[in-house]
């Protein structure tokens, strides 16, 4: 494609028209908007990072817990075999289960006592796991705090994560436009206008084909 010849006289006269610049206040408003938007972006990212880390830690703790539970379940079986009982009779059991006075210590009792001990052990580990998750999450929370301070309270993080995406944002531009055209055909002018305005915001550089433009544009 050959370019039209550039007339130097036109170029010169055009330059002489002046070099207007936006007002400083306008510059400041736009640059501030860019910074605000950047801060808004960071909060969900930091929250997502914190969540990923917390889930990761929880999975590790859960895996560890399962391993330990298996050890605890195995322990009574180990106690049944005579070989490991090296100390005085009943020592091993008294460490976890208080002896019932006047009752003979028999194997079934030991088996019955095991579940409360197991529950106790689980509870302790669960508390420990909770503490560890909190500890792991805290530094991340602190790291994300400055970003949150700049734009939104911490509660908005959860909101940002849980907020459902509007259906139209998940749509392809073509399907979105079809829906707007449908609204126009149904005479739902205001909804169509608002949806089209939102479409323009979401896809500012999308070129709407002329036939579709005729269907979606305000009449």
């Amino acid at each position: 494609m050959t370019e039209p010849e550039r007339d130097e006289r036109i170029a010169q006269a055009y330059r002489a028209l002046g070099r207007e610049e936006p007002r400083a206040a306008l510059d400041a408003a736009i640059l501030a908007a860019s910074r605000r938007h950047r801060a808004r972006w960071r909060v969900p990212l930091a929250a997502a990072a914190a969540l990923t880390l917390a889930v990761g830690v929880a999975l590790v703790v859960e895996r560890e817990e399962r391993t330990r539970t298996e050890e605890v379940v195995l322990a009574p079986q180990v106690m049944k075999s005579p070989a490991p009982v090296a100390g005085p009779r009943g020592d091993a059991r008294s460490a976890t289960v208080p002896a019932a006075p006047g009752k003979p210590q028999v194997a079934p009792e030991r088996a019955a006592a095991a579940p409360p001990a197991l529950a106790e052990a689980k509870r302790e580990r669960s508390d420990e796991a909770g503490r560890r998750v909190m500890q792991a999450a805290e530094p991340v929370g602190q790291a994300s705090a400055p970003a949150a301070d700049r734009s939104a309270p911490a509660t908005s993080v959860a909101g940002a994560l849980s907020a459902a995406k509007p259906a139209e944002e998940a749509d392809t531009p073509e399907r979105w436009l079809e829906r707007i055209a449908g609204l126009r055909e149904q005479g739902r002018v205001r909804e169509a206008d608002e949806s089209l305005a939102e479409f323009r915001r979401r896809h500012p550089d999308y070129r709407i084909p002329e036939p579709m433009l005729r269907r979606v544009a305000p009449r």
């Binding site: 028209l17 510059d27 860019s34 500012p204």
Partner: protein, 170 residues
């Protein structure tokens, strides 16, 4: 723009300072009302900011920026009842006949050009401004305005022809 998209804090400031003058003059000379131009100019940048995550380096940033500007101007003209093809006398961008600076400098060319620009049909004026202000080629004008290259070339050629004729009209 890619750096800005990836979170580079200073990238937007750099982009903005590079493009603010040409874009502002493009909008101002397209709509020729300062207040409207400022509003549109701000909206265009807001759309750039909002759309940064969707920017793909398929075209120059300049082309992308002016595509957004073109869409915003089209919406504006559409809202005003397709004044895109009307000729208007209002002239914020053009110097008035009694502008002492222009008169003192004897810049008749300047006034003629401003008047001729104001008289151009909107699409031709847009093509000329994209060429003169943003330094765009015909192919880039075509992309930014959603036209085919033949149409873009024709608009630019008509615009240049009319402006040239106005300047030669001694």
């Amino acid at each position: 723009m890619l750096a800005y998209r990836q979170g580079d804090a200073g990238a937007f400031d750099t982009l903005y300072s590079r493009h603010k003058g040409p874009l502002y003059r493009f909008v101002l000379r397209a709509v020729r009302e300062r207040a409207v131009a400022e509003e549109l100019y701000q909206e265009i940048w807001m759309r750039v900011i909002e759309a940064r995550g969707r920017y793909e380096a398929r075209a120059r940033f300049t082309t992308w920026l002016y595509t957004i500007a073109h869409h915003r101007l089209t919406d504006h003209w559409r809202k005003r009842g397709l004044k895109v093809v009307e000729l208007q006398d209002d002239d914020a961008a053009a110097p008035r006949a009694d502008d002492p600076e222009a008169r003192a400098a004897g810049r008749e060319d300047l006034q003629r050009l401003a008047q001729a620009m104001a008289a151009l049909p909107g699409l031709q004026r847009e093509a000329f401004l994209l060429h003169a202000e943003a330094g765009m080629t015909v192919a880039e004008i075509a992309v930014a305005t959603g036209a085919n290259e033949e149409a873009a070339k024709s608009r630019l050629r008509y615009a240049l022809g009319k402006l040239e004729a106005a300047l030669k009209d001694d």
